[in-house]
Subunit: 239 residues, 4 copies
DNA sequence: CATGAATGAGACTTCATTCAT
DNA sequence: AATGAATGAAGTCTCATTCAT
């Protein structure tokens, strides 16, 4: 349910709603592919199968269209989270769900839209940033809730700010996709799921409350080992 | 030693080098602030205190200038890594150094440039990507080396692809940056260092070779705990 | 039937065709007056009574417009040849028609365009040359046909390459044009026809199969005459 | 001996004269190769081995340099004619000399400069045209003299204006070179001489006083022949 | 004198946006 | 309601020309 109303003179018929959807879809594709500036209203109109002028009768300008595209994308993801989250599952199950869902959704045109958000959210010349902050909050809310619950149960470490843990989760996901995009690798559904599982595995380890005593011992062992190695390397010429 | 020389007739005198620096600085500022497309040669010239034409006599075009701006920025970072890395330190010390340095450089004056790289590196229309790929490789090399060494010593887990570990490290850092950017928060030096320390702490945990038996036991304890909790919640109304 | 359609989004309505004509006319005028480089899109637009941007919505660029201008001009001439050629006439009649028509079209509104073609066709930097070569071929075809037929009938000399004969015909015509251009003389219709008739007369003589014996005798008579004259001039001071 | 003085502040030393020659040579090359607009002062300076600014200290601007290039070129040709013309030869020998010399001189960078003259002579925006007309006159003078002498002796037809005969001679020569340039054929010295001989042969035939009676008879024979041919073609289906 | 360096003026081209039909 | 057509505004880039050193 979109909360974003706009357009000076938006038609309100039932057919019109389809038009809006078409334009938004075309806009999403083009913006994701080309970025904000390189996307042209001409191409968006063409892909939507309508004339350029029509676009402007549904949206008051390129900026507004872009804002709607971003907002709708966020809405979709938020919806997917709120709808699919296994409310009865364990913290780890919920966590795994969020990671998997996120990766899947991003696979379609995620990196493009991510970059779009990044570049548009930054420019001060429009009010998008305000909206964006709120969307970002709602979008990370499910993860934050899960993490908070985990902390309350003692299953997630509490010695670092929640915000940092959030970055620990979302960051790698985006980076993985970014890598794939740069390398022009097309990820299959299977690959995505494999990566998701690996990510969950590693991330979950990072989220564990540190076993102080154990960790200290492990570190001690490592340190001694390295010191010894360096000591042995002393007598020999530098390779 | 920069290997980027071009443009039709680039002045080469000793004073000229200052001009080049001025332009690069202005370019860095504007590109970082506005992004590639929204940055105009007019503004760059103005901030450098020279005429537009002069810019083009030092750089053969907007793209080359942008490429140089990015390349120089990378060079700085790479330099900082190669210069400051404690070659005699333990794996963990080196790892900590990389994370801390990275975060500092990014958050101090890199937010805009980071976004620039992220936005422009993706789109295939510029040939920036070619230059970028190589820089990206050199730039991630120190971390990769450290991780590889860690794996060889058994201090870093070897059961997931190295690429994933890299994403595990860079991802969160970029996300922290992203957060700061969107929120338009300026972090103080102290805040940055605190964050860096926390990040190192958490990331290092993620990089540890998994103690399979221990992890399984811990998970079992958690699962039982949650099951029990849900059982007890049965009789009460859903909060 | 023009086969030249392009530009990103060319209007196609019935009114648009008038626009295209207007622009082509303005383009022809300006290109003819100023040459390719000195002609500006601004002036073309102004003379066509439209904005600069409109020009570029009908033609994808200055070069395409220029190419169309030239092509259309050639088309007119070629049309005039193919339509008016007296197919039932004698070789000489057809030859005369070609010369007369050519001269008329050139001198009436072709001076500028001729110079345009001459100047721009030569430089390899434009890709006009490709288009031009083919047009040039079609444009010289009628004359070539007539000359070939003349040769077959024995009415036109066969002892020199056809290519040279072509230059013998087109060369003088272009030179007449050049003269008129440099002298900025406007020739009246009558003057043009007189010149055409004279040209035909002289050119036809040049095309005649040489009567070897007769020519040799004539030359002998001339040589003797001159020798005699020089002999007589010996005693007198050089005038 | 150049009659063209110019430059606001031209150095007058003996070395300076070499500089001027260098610049003029470079200018000639570049203008011939690229045409007026595409020629840049930068390239001219570079080819002359001096700095751009120096060019402007010897010539007050691009236009003046171009004018001097053209004027010098004409001067050269005129000189070659006036110097080498066999004053004691027959009309035909002199005529042959002019044709041969012309073709040879043009071979170097003639077509380029021809086009340059054509396009620059036309533009009204500078006073070049006045100078040009005079140069053109002096340049055609030798041929005009020879033709006039031929007419006086009765060896050259007098029934058409001298100006037309001039075009009959110069036109084909330029056209031949133009053809070669367009086809990107490099003409060897031998080819040039062969072509020159053929041209002389054909042109001389055209310049002969018409043997009215003979020509009329020949035409009669041709006409009858064609009429007969057409008559015979009547009964057969059109091929 | 020669030139390195700077620039004003202007060209082509693109595109979001408007408006009459 | 939809669009074909037109355009203002802006941007990148080039080059002849000037001037202090």
């Amino acid at each position: 349910m979109s909360t974003h109303t706009s357009s000076r003179r938006t038609p309100a018929g039932v057919k019109s709603q389809q038009r809006v959807k078409d334009i938004l879809q075309a806009g999403r594709d083009v913006f994701a592919e080309k970025g904000y500036d390189a996307a042209t209203s001409a191409e968006i109109a063409q892909r939507a199968g309508i004339s350029e002028a029509t676009v402007f009768s549904y949206f008051s300008g390129k900026r507004e269209l872009c804002a709607r595209v971003i907002a709708d994308w966020y809405d979709e993801i938020i919806d997917a989270f709120e709808t699919g989250l296994p409310r009865e599952g364990t913290v780890r199950q919920q966590f795994a769900f969020i990671v998997r869902t996120h990766l899947r959704l991003m696979l379609v045109n995620g990196t493009g839209l991510c970059a779009l958000v990044l570049s548009e959210g930054r420019s001060k010349q429009h009010d998008l940033s305000e909206t964006l902050t709120e969307l970002q909050r709602r979008y990370t809310a499910p993860l934050m809730d899960v993490l908070a619950r985990g902390q309350a149960l003692g299953h997630v470490r509490s010695d670092v700010p929640l915000r940092l843990l959030r970055s620990m989760v979302f960051g790698p996901m985006e980076h993985v996709l970014w890598d794939a995009t740069l390398a022009k690798r097309r990820l299959s559904q299977t690959q995505i799921d494999t990566t998701a599982n690996e990510l969950v595995e590693v991330l979950w380890a990072a989220l564990q409350p540190p076993d102080v005593k154990l960790a200290a011992l492990a570190q001690f062992r490592q340190d001694v080992e390295e010191a010894s190695r360096r000591y042995e390397a002393q007598g020999k010429p530098i390779s």
